[in-house]
Symmetry: C2
Subunit: 107 residues, 2 copies
């Protein structure tokens, strides 16, 4: 995984922060990978960054609110969200945020 | 670390995504901890979430752009940013984003 190569702002970020329940690790990782691949195919998708320690953070980047809404309602993603609430997550917060500016550094 | 207990939107998120260079791990972790503690003392600070695997993601939450600017310019933080560019990071992107809405789940 590398840093997402997003375009010039403005664009949107969906910050998904979560605490996992124990267990179901293999199933969870398979679904996470599947969803990452599926997200890439959606209209308006701009990139993703993800890391997990105690807290997991996945930030996906999107062109606009329309594309975020469509992804939220995508059928396979709906199934994954339901499984997330029933089996995988102790708690999560999803934050929808408008990226107003960004600055980068490369050594 | 737990999920940040942020207030009702709107508020701001600073999404700091980075790739580390190898080495200087102890020094880096000490400074990261010091900066996390220092951030908590700043006016307008609302919380932080952080995780690192291949990519490191730290999302800090702030009341407004004024508080983000003050934190960016805080003297000790300036020193840390300089050390980051000189020693710790291969690359990073900082994104300033207005959180428009959020929704949470707790099991």
């Amino acid at each position: 995984m590398s840093l997402a190569k997003t375009p010039q702002p403005p664009y949107y970020a969906v910050i998904f922060s979560s605490i996992r329940r124990e267990g179901n690790q293999k199933e969870y990782l398979q679904m996470a990978l599947k969803m990452e691949q599926l997200a890439k195919e959606q209209v308006g998708y701009l990139g993703v960054e993800s890391a997990r320690e105690e807290v997991g953070i996945t930030v996906s980047y999107w062109k606009d609110l329309v594309s975020i809404k469509a992804w939220k309602e995508q059928v396979d993603h709906q199934v994954a969200q339901k499984m997330g609430r029933e089996k995988w997550y102790k708690s999560y917060i999803t934050r929808i945020a408008l990226v107003e500016r960004d600055y980068s550094f490369e050594n």
